[in-house]
Structures are given as structure tokens and as C-alpha cells.
């Protein structure tokens, strides 16, 4: 058991301690504000949100209430209402069947994350389906990750999501009564939870019922929604300006630093891959949303100038990603293949030194043991037959040895040529270029 590995004596709120603002957290909030195209408040303040619960040793959370540091932004097609700074609560572990503090045998408080700064980003009601929430959520996660302000890991809780859901008749501009789903820890669950709640609300209203404002829990294992409403949780938070902290008044220099520090964000990168590099749309999105994949891809392209980005993107997101999955679901960070090595492989395939199918088998070896592709090609003799005289001899032999398909092709059944191509490939152990083989076969069959 680890005890208080990350807390200072001050954090569990003993008498007399005071909060002080975390400069880095404010800089990060400004960076997020810049990335989300927000207006930055010239002066924002903190409030106390009062509630009794052991996850907060002061019995109030320091948060921002009426004046958040960032407001009125946008990411993609979704408007951002606000992004504000607050402190995180401690983590509670409840022992017993209930899994909640009511009815638990005992409860433990892990203060290690208590008091650490977090940014809460609130959207306008611009998202209309579970799938859209998932996609936009992934864009937001990728954007924040790119900023380097958080590792945005939903399982570890460094990214959490509450979803508010309401439905309204087609054409109506008035939002219906909303419900809230709290603390969902994967985008897949969020998508399913939202779809389930939309369905529930539609059915309820359709049968003459009324949606009650409440907090819900979505159980991904059963697909069911449970109400978390209980008397204990109906709070009056008694918000009060936090007298222990002064207002945040960002200087021009701080605002400029945030703008200057903005990296290329995923949405812009996807557009660049697609529009400037000719990468297919789906591959461009896949690469842009994961910084490490984008970096890997750019490393592959950088291997040599003959590599077409579109081809490299297909190798990275297609064969390579599939091979990593096949071989024990390896994360990219742990892959034994370097971008340069994959670049070398792609280059050999593109330059027709090896066939595409040889390339795939070389990649399998590379992913398995980190082997150098050039060495593998040489060791296994996979280099394509580039001497057309040698290939021509083999083609002629294939026609002679396979009179039946040869005759079929001559009499107009062009599909039968596959059998002859296969024979050539078998003879050359795949070292022949398929296009060249077909061309020679057609020539010698008089087509």
C-alpha cells in the first residue's frame, strides 16, 4: 500500500493552510483556451463550492463559478461554453457490496490526487447523437493531448466525461429537460449510454411521460440506466467567492505565450495530410488524432523522397497497425519497428525491389523481432527478378506446362490468366512483379 505519495502536508486541509494558485495550471488553462479559440477573461476569480463529503478535506471545492478563465470558444462544429479551472477531489474507495458510501462496510480516502488542478470544458448543446459525441470527444482528447497538458487517459481518470442529454420535437428550438450521466470512462460507453438515454427519453415522452431532471449511471455491462438520485445528493452548494485567492489577471505576455505555444492541432493536421499530402480521409483522421502515430507516419515519409505520403499512410494505418494488433496488440510506443525501418520497407515495395506480398511477410518478421527489412529481403532472397530475360523464360515454361488455362485465355476467357500468374509466382517464390508477369503472359499468349 502506498500512502500519500503525491500530497504535501498542506493538501489534506489541516487547520491554517491556504491554497495558492498553480502557475502552470493557469498557463495550461490559457493554452487550452487558445486551442479552443476561447475568449480569455481579463479577470477571473475562484469560488468555494461547499459540500460535506470526505473526498474533499476542506469540505469545499475551489472552482470557478460566474467568471471562468475561458469562455465562448469552438472546436470543430461544436461551440464551447466555457473552460474553467478547479481542484480535483480525492479518490474514495468503498468497501462492501453497495460500492457507495451509503451501506459500505468502510470507506477509504486516497488524497493523492486531491487538490490537483483540472480544467472542466463545457460545450453548448451542439451534439446530436452518441456517435457524434464519441467522434467529437476523440477530437477533443487528441487536441488536449497534443497540447501536452494532460495524458487524457480515461481509464486512469485524467480525462472524465459527464454527458447531459435532452430530446426535443423536430423543429423545436426549446431544449427539453436534461438528465446527466456522470464519470463515464470510455468513449464507447459514452456513445452507448447516450443512445440508451435518448431512446429512454423518446419512449417516455412518446408514451405521455415527462423527463425528470436527475443524475443517471449507465451500466455498460447490462446497457441499463440507473438513477443516482438520493436525498443525500441534493445539495445547496452555497457558492461564495474564495477569499484566500486573488483574481487571475493574465498579462499580455501570458496570452501571447499561450498563442505562441500552440502546436499544430489534430483537426489542422488532418486537413494538411488530406489536402497537401493526398492522404486518404480515413487514414488522415486516424493519424492526426494520435500524435505518436502522426509522428511515426511523418518519420516513414521522411525516409526517402520517393515515398508517396498516401502510400506510407496506408502502410502505417493498414498493414503495420494490423500486424501490431495481430502480434499481441502491441502499443506503438513499444513497437520494435522504427519509422525509418518501415520507410525502408515501403521504399523497397514502391521501387518494386520486392513485391507487395513479400513486403507483408517482411513486415511480419520486423514486428516480431525488430529485424532490418533490407537484411530480411537479402537473407530470404525476396528481391524481385528484375532481369526480364529470366522472367520471360519462366513465363514461357508456365504456358507450356499449363496448356489448359493457356488455351482458355487464348479463346477469350481472360480470367483464366490467374492460374498462369500463380504458376509463375510459385516458380519465382513470389519474387516477380505481378504486373510485369501479366504483361509478359499476355504478350506470349498473343493478346
Amino acid at each position: 500500500m502506498t500512502i500519500r505519495t503525491s500530497t504535501l502536508p498542506g493538501l489534506p486541509g489541516p487547520p491554517g493552510v491556504l491554497p495558492v494558485p498553480n502557475r502552470k495550471a493557469i498557463e495550461y488553462a490559457l493554452l487550452i483556451g487558445a486551442a479552443l479559440d476561447c475568449e480569455i477573461a481579463p479577470s477571473s476569480i475562484f469560488h468555494r463550492k461547499n459540500y460535506f463529503y470526505p473526498d474533499n478535506p476542506k469540505a469545499y471545492q475551489i472552482t470557478q463559478f460566474d467568471i471562468p478563465i475561458c469562455g465562448n470558444g469552438r472546436l470543430g462544429e461544436v461551440r464551447i461554453n466555457r473552460a474553467h479551472l478547479e481542484e480535483d477531489a480525492a479518490k474514495m474507495i468503498h468497501v462492501g457490496e453497495s460500492g457507495r458510501i451509503q451501506g459500505s462496510d468502510s470507506s477509504m480516502v486516497d488524497f493523492n490526487r486531491g487538490g490537483t488542478p483540472l480544467v472542466e470544458i463545457v460545450t453548448e448543446p451542439d451534439l446530436t447523437s452518441g456517435a457524434q459525441v464519441r467522434e467529437w470527444g476523440q477530437l477533443l482528447r487528441a487536441t488536449v493531448k497534443e497540447l501536452g497538458v494532460s495524458d487524457v487517459n480515461m481509464e486512469e481518470g485524467s480525462l472524465r466525461c459527464d454527458a447531459n442529454v435532452s430530446v426535443r420535437p423536430v423543429g423545436s428550438r426549446t431544449l427539453g429537460t436534461k438528465t446527466e450521466m456522470k464519470n463515464m470512462n470510455s468513449f464507447r460507453y459514452i456513445e452507448r449510454g447516450i443512445e440508451a438515454e435518448i431512446a429512454r427519453q423518446k419512449e417516455l415522452i412518446g408514451s405521455g411521460g415527462r423527463v425528470v431532471q436527475e443524475t443517471l449511471h449507465f451500466d455498460p455491462s447490462t446497457g441499463e440506466l440507473h438513477s443516482l438520485r438520493s436525498k443525500e445528493e441534493s445539495h445547496d452548494y452555497r457558492y461564495m467567492p474564495e477569499p484566500d485567492l486573488v483574481a487571475i489577471i493574465p498579462t499580455e505576455a501570458m496570452l501571447k505565450a499561450a498563442q505562441d505555444a500552440l502546436p499544430e492541432l489534430p483537426a489542422a493536421r488532418a486537413a494538411r495530410y488530406r489536402d497537401d499530402l493526398g492522404v486518404q480521409d480515413s487514414a488522415a483522421l486516424l493519424l492526426s488524432f494520435e500524435t505518436e502515430w502522426a509522428e511515426f507516419f511523418e518519420g516513414v515519409v521522411a525516409h526517402d523522397s520517393s515515398i508517396e505520403p498516401r502510400v506510407a499512410a496506408n502502410w502505417v494505418t493498414g498493414e503495420f497497425a494490423a500486424e501490431l494488433r495481430k502480434q499481441g496488440d502491441q502499443p506503438l510506443a513499444e513497437a520494435k519497428v522504427s519509422p525509418d525501418q518501415l520507410g525502408s520497407l515501403v521504399s523497397m515495395v514502391a521501387g518494386k525491389r520486392i513485391s507487395h506480398s513479400s513486403g507483408k511477410s517482411v513486415l511480419e518478421t520486423m514486428v516480431a523481432d525488430g529485424a532490418d527489412p533490407v537484411a530480411v529481403v537479402e537473407a530470404q532472397g525476396l528481391e524481385q527478378i528484375s532481369d526480364s530475360g529470366e522472367l520471360e523464360t519462366i513465363v514461357k515454361a508456365a504456358i507450356e506446362n499449363n496448356p489448359k488455362p493457356a488455351e482458355q485465355v487464348r479463346s477469350g476467357n481472360e480470367k483464366a490468366i490467374g492460374a498462369l500468374v500463380g504458376a509463375v509466382m510459385k516458380e519465382t517464390k513470389g519474387r516477380a512483379d505481378g504486373g510485369e508477369v501479366t504483361r509478359l503472359l499476355r504478350q506470349h499468349l498473343g493478346l
Binding site: P14, P15, V17, N50, K58, A59, Y60, P243, D244, L245
Partner: protein
């Protein structure tokens, strides 16, 4: 040297004795530790021994105040030393760290004589809200020493400490200083770090010295003030503070807020006030009537704002992590029983007042309106200080009242802060110096006799040096004899 001479010395004189080699730091400390054992005023809640007195003290520190021991109000966290804020809920609690004010003095070589009595969580004007019984006024033990820093004022007046630390939220340094015939200074909000000072009302709380004279107050403030990274509201005093030397008040203007002072001041207190005003004029100062039109609403605003802040500041005393826990049946009972059993009645009253004032639907009517009154009072003082250098009032409308005299009527008790609260709301510095003696209204019981009267002088924010200079000159002219308080 004779011990009686040492124990009769002011802090500055003691520092000079140490500096001149007439007494060693060790001799000085041991004489004072022995002296504190004579406390029969319930002034100390905890007294140090030779070891704990120097626990975190840098005993090799040089500097002007090294070796002059100090009494510390029990609201300051002291590492490893019991710190209760005079509440049962913190009985047995020993903080893991020193408050910044304490640490600054420890690093200046100042030993700690003990922790002094106070109103529970600094809520009170008589020390009668201490969970450990009231401290007594050394001039007349049937009377209160004032509050909330009553223990600190009592031990300094009684000669049980050369000087002491107090805290002032609405008058908690100045009013007990006045009741006990000593000097109490509330500096500008932000001058001294609040880190490690158990919070009552964070936007008002300020540490302040309680001393035998103005020179000592300046000496202590000089060491205490300063920006502290652990308190984002702390600023220090630009240019620092030096010992005052002024001999007259020539060219200085003093304003009396007529609308405030006309309200129910006891005749004896009024007479001392008037005499002091004449002294100011004798010293070359000009005195005129001014207006602080909203100051009389200060008490109303204060008793919304301070309890509101207190209600959230005191929420952390829930039995979960430290201090007392009344039950552990379940979470709700633990909270309710712990807070129900271990908070005193005045603390509970203010938590309820404050909780109500912050409740959804009432916030604007109470907290919001009180904030607006506070802003108006700030503007009142701004306007006043464009005409005069200082605002002067009696520190309190009466001398020390009798024990139990006001406990049944909280509102009357709250009015004891009428003259001190406006300065707290405005965040400006104010000092109370003893100005004379007056007979208690209605004669008073017990030992009887006249009691000390305090004179309050307030200055613009960060005007501490000017305030100390004027107080120093006036103090010399008054020549108050505090001997009657010594035990």
C-alpha cells in the same frame, strides 16, 4: 541583574539588555518561563518548558529581537505544540507545521512562552467563548479581558509575557488591548501572512502585535510583515517598518467620525477620548469632524460576511482526519455528532448565520448586500483620507465589562466591535493605545476601581509607519501607567 528589572522591561528594553550582555538569552527565557507559572488569569492554554519554548527557534539568530520571548495566541499553528483555537473540536491537535508568522519569529530567535487563551475560533469580544474558560482581566478579575485575543492582552498587561501575537478580524487585537491597557495593532490586510493562522473569516483575518508600547509593536511588525508565497493575499508593507521617533503631530490632521462616535459612548470613555483629542492638539495636530456615513452599518455587514466565511472555513472540522470525532456509526452521524458535541454555542450560531446567508435564494439579499455595504465603507474611508491623515475613535464604547454581563445577549456583545469593525471591513491599519482610566458604567462589582480606556487611530492602507509615528508621539504625551494591570 535583578530579575524584577528584566520582567518589568518592555520587549525593546529586554532586547537592549540582551544586546548589552546584562542578561543572556537563556537567563531571560528561564526567568520568563518561571514567571508564566504565575498565570492565574487562565491567560495561557498551554505553557512552554525550556525545551518546547525553543522547538523551532533559531537560537543563533542575530537581529534586534533575538531572545525576547513571546506569547502566541492559540490560533497560530505551532509545530508539534497543541493548537486548539480554544475549541474542544481541536483538543489534542498538534499541527505538523509552524504558521508563517511563528516561523518568521522563530527564525529571528524569538522563543515561545506559551499559547494564549481566546474566544473559540476567534469568535467573540470577551474571551468568554473559550471552550477552556475565560481569561480574566488582570486589572479586575471580575471583568473580561476583551476578545477574541483576550489571553494575549491579559498576559501582556499582567506582565506574564513581554509581548504577544494576536489576530484581529473585527477588533480582536484592538478591543482586548483597550480593555487591558496595552497596545494592539491591526496592520493592513495582507501585511502579514495568514498561512498557518486558523481561519475565521479569511477576507478580514489579520495577525497583529499586542505589546506594552508602540515601539514594541513596531519592532514586532517589522519582523512579521512581508510577502509570503504560501498566502496569495499577502503583500507585505512596501519599504518595511522602522522604529518610530516622532515627538509631535505638527501638520497632521485627525478626523473624528461624528455620526459613529456620537452613538452611545460611556461618559467616562468619552471624557478620556476628549482629553486625548486635546493632547493631539497640544502636540500640534489638527482635529476636525468628518463623515463615515456607512460605518454604522459595518456591524450588520460584518455579521453577515464574517459568519458566511466562517461557515465554510469551519466545515473542515468534521471528525474525518484530525481533532475530535464523536461517533463513527455512519458518515452523517459522524459529521453531526462531532460538530454538535465539540463546537461551542457561539461558533454554532455563526455557522448557522453564515450558512443561511449563503443559501441559494438568500445570497443576494444577505451576502451580496453586505459586500456592497463593505464597498461603501471602503469608499467612505477613501473620502475621509482625502481630507485627514488619520481617523480617530474610542476603541470601544465602554471599558471592560463584567464576566457574564453580556453573554445572554449576543447582539449587545456584537456592538462591542462597533468602532473597530469598519477598519477591518476596509482592510486598513488601526491601532489601539491606552489613553487613560475610566470608571465602569453602573459602578461594577468585585474589586472595583477604574479601568483602562483605549484610543483608536486608523490610517490609509499600508500607512503603518505614519500610524506608528503618530501613536508614538501621542503615547509619550499620554504617559499611561500600566502598573495597575501587573500581577
Amino acid at each position: 541583574m535583578a530579575e524584577t528589572e528584566l520582567l518589568a522591561a518592555t520587549a525593546a528594553e529586554t532586547a537592549a539588555l540582551i544586546e548589552g550582555g546584562q542578561v543572556s538569552r537563556e537567563e531571560c527565557l528561564s526567568a520568563w518561563l518561571e514567571r508564566t507559572a504565575a498565570d492565574d488569569l487562565n491567560g495561557y492554554l498551554w505553557r512552554a518548558d525550556a525545551e518546547s519554548a525553543v522547538g523551532t527557534v533559531d537560537q543563533d539568530a542575530g537581529g534586534p529581537i533575538a531572545g525576547v520571548p513571546l506569547a502566541i495566541k492559540d490560533i497560530f499553528c505551532t509545530a508539534g505544540v497543541p493548537t486548539t483555537a480554544a475549541s474542544k473540536i481541536l483538543e489534542g491537535y498538534r499541527p505538523p507545521y509552524d504558521a508563517t508568522a511563528v516561523a518568521r519569529l522563530a527564525s529571528a530567535g524569538v522563543p515561545m512562552l506559551g499559547k494564549t487563551n481566546m474566544d473559540e475560533f476567534a469568535m467573540g469580544s470577551s474571551n468568554e467563548n473559550s471552550a477552556y474558560g475565560p481569561a480574566l482581566n488582570p486589572w479586575d478579575r471580575s471583568r473580561v479581558p476583551g476578545g477574541s485575543s483576550g489571553g494575549s492582552a491579559a498576559v501582556v498587561a499582567a506582565g506574564l509575557a513581554p509581548w504577544a501575537l494576536g489576530t484581529d478580524t473585527g477588533g480582536s487585537v484592538r478591543q482586548p488591548a483597550a480593555f487591558c491597557g496595552v497596545v494592539g495593532l491591526k496592520p493592513t490586510y495582507g501585511s502579514i501572512s495568514r498561512y498557518g493562522m486558523i481561519a475565521f473569516a479569511s477576507s478580514l483575518d489579520q495577525c497583529g502585535p499586542i505589546t506594552q508600547d508602540v515601539t514594541d509593536a513596531a519592532m514586532l511588525l517589522a519582523r512579521l510583515e512581508g510577502r509570503d508565497e504560501m498566502d496569495s493575499t499577502s503583500t507585505g508593507i512596501e519599504g518595511g517598518v522602522v522604529l518610530p521617533l516622532a515627538e509631535d503631530l505638527k501638520g497632521l490632521k485627525f478626523g473624528i467620525p461624528a455620526d459613529l462616535v456620537d452613538e452611545g459612548v460611556d461618559p467616562g470613555v468619552k471624557a478620556v477620548f476628549d482629553r486625548t483629542v486635546e493632547r493631539i492638539e497640544t502636540l500640534g495636530g489638527k482635529v476636525e469632524m468628518i463623515e463615515l456615513p456607512h460605518a454604522k452599518h459595518g456591524i450588520s455587514a460584518y455579521y453577515v460576511l464574517a459568519p458566511a466565511e466562517a461557515s465554510t472555513n469551519l466545515s473542515r472540522y468534521d471528525g474525518v482526519r484530525y481533532g475530535q470525532r464523536a461517533s463513527d456509526k455512519d458518515l452523517g452521524s459522524m459529521y453531526e455528532d462531532t460538530r454538535g458535541d465539540y463546537f461551542g454555542p457561539e461558533v454554532k450560531r455563526r455557522i448557522m448565520l453564515g450558512t443561511y446567508a449563503l443559501s441559494s435564494g438568500y445570497y443576494d439579499a444577505y451576502y451580496g448586500r453586505a459586500q456592497r455595504v463593505r464597498t461603501k465603507i471602503v469608499h467612505d474611508f477613501d473620502a475621509a483620507f482625502s481630507k485627514v491623515d488619520f481617523v480617530i475613535t474610542p476603541t470601544s464604547s465602554s471599558v471592560a465589562f463584567g464576566l457574564g454581563e453580556k453573554t445572554s445577549d449576543p447582539l449587545t456583545m456584537y456592538m462591542a466591535d462597533l468602532f473597530t469593525v469598519p477598519m477591518s471591513l476596509a482592510g486598513i491599519p488601526a491601532i489601539s493605545i491606552p489613553a487613560g482610566m475610566a470608571a465602569p458604567e453602573g459602578g461594577g462589582e468585585g474589586a472595583g476601581g477604574d479601568m483602562p480606556v483605549g484610543f483608536q487611530i486608523a490610517a490609509p492602507a499600508f500607512g503603518e509607519q505614519k500610524l506608528l509615528e503618530a501613536s508614538f508621539a501621542l503615547e509619550k504625551a499620554i504617559d499611561f501607567d500600566g502598573g495597575g494591570g501587573r500581577i
